[in-house]
């Protein structure tokens, strides 16, 4: 017996007045709360585990690990530049300067890809392994690996918004999607700044 649900009889409700703007921005904000808390939780474990290992008289980093800051400094500078460029891209859209906006969005995505490449290269140089007794390798790979995924998602987000801009969805009147992508990107870069300091600088 076919089941007919109530809305099949009642029909869809009448359309509401136009939705308030900034839905994508609000949704991105909520999602970022979850993402930031994900990293906050992992950093909490990192700090706790590090303190426990040091208190027990062991060294936090295994002796075969060497962290050369150059690669991570370059990555930080690259992301910092990408933040400025992303902001510039939105400014360009606001001023209907579309060609420069596309260049800005493309450069931001490119710097993101360069970051992924740089961190993956650094993985090969650091000598970290997940099989250490202190648990530092697992933590470092969990935190930086999740951040790489976050950067990858950011590149896709920027790419999607760039295509929408290309299609005319965003303009001087409305840059909501781009603002959402920018917000995501800024938080991505902020998270890396914490990683850079907590994991690589303080070691």
């Amino acid at each position: 017996m076919a089941v007919t649900f109530a809305d099949d009889i009642l029909g869809s409700p009448p359309a509401a007045p136009p939705a308030r703007p900034r839905v994508l921005l609000i949704g991105t904000g909520f999602a970022l709360v979850g993402i930031v808390l994900t990293f906050a939780g992992l950093f909490g474990i990192y700090v706790e585990q590090r303190a426990q290992v040091l208190n027990s008289g062991q060294k936090w980093l295994p002796k075969e690990v060497s962290i050369d800051l150059t690669q991570f400094n370059v990555a930080l500078i690259g992301l910092a530049i990408s933040v400025v460029i992303m902001h510039w891209a939105i400014w360009c859209v606001k001023h209907e300067d579309r060609p420069r906006a596309y260049i800005g969005l493309g450069l931001t995505a490119l710097l993101g890809a360069a970051y992924i490449n740089g961190i993956c290269f650094a993985y090969t140089q650091m000598g970290f392994t997940v099989h250490d007794t202190t648990g530092v390798g697992v933590l470092v790979y969990a935190i930086t690996g999740l951040h790489l995924a976050m950067v990858g998602a950011g590149i896709i987000f920027i790419g999607l918004m760039a295509f929408r801009t290309l299609g005319g969805q965003y303009s001087a009147r409305d840059q909501e999607g781009l603002a959402a992508a920018a917000l995501y990107w800024y938080v991505t870069c902020a998270v890396y700044t914490v990683i850079w300091y907590a994991i690589f600088v303080t070691k």
Binding site: M1, A2, V3, T4, F5, A6, D7, D8, I9, L10, G11, S12, P13, P14, A15, A16, P17, A19, R20, R22, V23, I26, G27, F30, A31, V33, G34, I35, V36, L37, T38, F39, A40, G41, L42, G44, I45, E48, Q52, V130, H131, D132, T133, T134, G135, G137, V138, L139, Y141, A142, G145, L146, F163, G167
Partner: protein, 530 residues
């Protein structure tokens, strides 16, 4: 680039199933059957999928609870299970109860109801909402499979444990995604005039709940990734099999367990004025109480308990356990005042709501008693009793919500007689299930394992608890029978769209004609035209 697909929002706007036909219009006919189900972006369909699937997981969790209850009849020896699969069964009972039933059923109800309460024809990000459901379905199925292949916490099959961590992470990510959709709907898709302090209480509670869930489940997701990497590469610094449950325990203990029940308060806040035939008294107090309850139920800060096992003895932990009593009592007082001032119609949603509120209050009181140091209840079955009080309250509120919002969820109303009986049986059942565990806690029965040196009275308490569990099963069976009868009766041509004379926008036949100037716009309209 050619745009060839129809956005779900547009689909929802254009869909008028019984009257409109795509034939002759040149538009593609909307997919029906399985294809329509898989590709749906309609919030009602997605919500129903959440509700139906979560009820299946309720059956699984309940059946496992029955086995555990039977095993505890002789708490010093294993009769049905052995030590390992007792721990696994208990673990799946908890995981399925919280992550596969309680949170998802609330998300399902909210997915159906909240957009209508906001006066919106769609949920925010309908494709993401659908993706969240399918992720939950696949992830939830894999969680169960992981236990079946001897995985999960305490599992002997390492690949099964890997699968458990991965699939639970998938479920958690899906719950976060669904929460984002609901929260965004509440904040971003309100009709004109519907300020945040005027949104229906259920929507407000869902906003608070989803914010807390996004934050705490975000932490849980990171934790699961860490455990997965550790376990997958067999490092075992963090995820030795016995440790996994320790890492996850904060999600089902006080105060985090109360986060699951935030929407219970919202449901009560919505039904009491309607069935009291009056306006909500102390509306702002109720809003603030729900906000404070939500804030104090954020328990992710206890996730480092593995490193600080004495955390429950700290002042902040004890203070939080007592502090959450205040908003709960404030909410109960405001509800009682509304009932006192009104002319009560006794209907099943009201009974479910009051039953859920009483059980939640009992859970919060037990949570406060549990942290009193001299009672030494932490780690005893008092922990289990809090979970059962809160999960019971959540289940009763969810079932009550299905009764209340049946025109949005079902075809026909549920039978009031069966519904009232079901509410009563569930109230008595959950109380009988949980209260003996508090007593057993005082008698030093540990949570989560069988033990020797069983003190007098524990076995009797466990028997009462099992009987309570049987009553809960009976209550759920009554609901399921009621539901099946309702569904079997098919279409509904003559029932009212607003059977309860509701106060909020989900009961409006035409939102565009309603002016929102208070938290009860339909009541305003009725009083204005009277």
């Amino acid at each position: 680039m050619a745009m060839t697909e129809t956005r779900p929002e547009a689909e929802a706007q254009t869909a008028t199933p019984t009257t409109s036909s795509a034939s002759g219009s040149g538009l593609p006919r909307p997919a029906t059957g399985l294809a329509g189900l898989l590709g749906t972006g309609r919030h009602r369909s997605i919500g129903r999928l959440w509700i139906g699937t979560s009820l299946v997981f309720l059956v699984i969790s309940g059946a496992l609870g029955g086995v555990i209850g039977a095993e505890r009849l002789k708490p010093e020896t294993y009769n049905i299970l052995n030590k390992d699969n007792f721990a696994q069964t208990l673990s799946l009972h908890g995981v399925a109860g919280v992550f596969l039933f309680a949170l998802p059923i609330l998300i399902g109800i909210a997915t159906v109801v909240v957009p209508r309460q906001m006066g919106s024809h769609t949920i925010a990000f309908p494709r993401a909402a659908a993706l969240a459901f399918w992720g939950y379905l696949v992830g939830g199925g894999m969680v169960v499979v992981s236990y079946l292949i001897n995985g999960g916490p305490f599992g002997g099959n390492e690949k099964g444990v890997d699968l458990f961590l991965l699939s639970l992470a998938m479920v958690v990510a899906s719950l976060v995604l669904a929460s984002v959709c609901i929260a965004t709907t509440i904040v971003g898709l309100r009709v004109k005039g519907l300020r945040l302090d005027r949104v229906p209480m259920f929507a407000w509670s869902m906003l608070v709940a989803t914010a807390i869930w996004i934050a705490s489940l975000g932490i849980l997701f990171g934790l699961l990734v860490l455990l997965y990497i550790d376990h997958r590469y067999r490092t075992f610094v963090y995820a030795a099999d016995d440790n996994i449950s320790v890492w996850l325990r904060w999600t089902i203990t006080s105060p985090q367990i109360f986060a699951m029940a935030i929407p219970v308060l919202g449901f009560v806040g919505d039904v009491v004025p309607v069935f009291g035939r009056t306006r909500a008294r102390m509306h702002n107090v109720q809003l603030a109480a729900i906000g404070a309850f939500g804030g104090l139920s954020f328990g992710a800060w206890t996730y480092l308990t593995f490193a600080h096992p004495r955390l429950p003895e700290t002042a902040i932990y004890i203070g939080a356990a007592f502090a959450i009593l205040l908003p709960t009592l404030a909410f109960v007082a405001a509800t009682a005042e509304t009932l006192r001032a009104g002319r009560i119609r006794v209907r099943s949603p009201l009974l479910f709501g009051i039953a859920a509120m009483l059980l939640l209050l009992a859970g919060v009181v037990t949570g406060a008693i549990r942290v009193i140091h001299r009672f030494a209840l932490v780690g005893t079955t008092a922990d289990s009793s809090i979970i059962h009080f809160v999960a019971g309250a959540t289940a009763i509120a969810a079932i009550g919500a299905i009764h209340y919002w049946w025109p949005h969820i079902l075809t026909r109303p549920l039978r009031e007689g069966l519904a009232n009986l079901s509410a009563l049986v569930l109230l008595v059942g959950v109380a009988a299930l949980a209260i003996p565990d508090v007593v057993s806690g005082f008698l030093d029965e540990p949570a989560g394992s069988l033990y020797t040196n069983v003190r007098d009275g524990v076995t009797a308490m466990n028997a009462v608890s099992l009987a309570g569990g049987a009553l809960v099963v009976l209550g759920v069976v009554l609901f399921v029978v009621n539901l099946a009868v309702s569904l079997a009766r098919g279409g509904n041509d003559d029932e009212a769209i607003d059977p309860w004379e509701g106060h909020t926008l989900e009961w409006a036949t035409d939102v565009s004609t309603v002016t929102v100037t208070s938290e009860a716009p339909l009541l305003d309209a009725r009083e204005g035209s009277a």
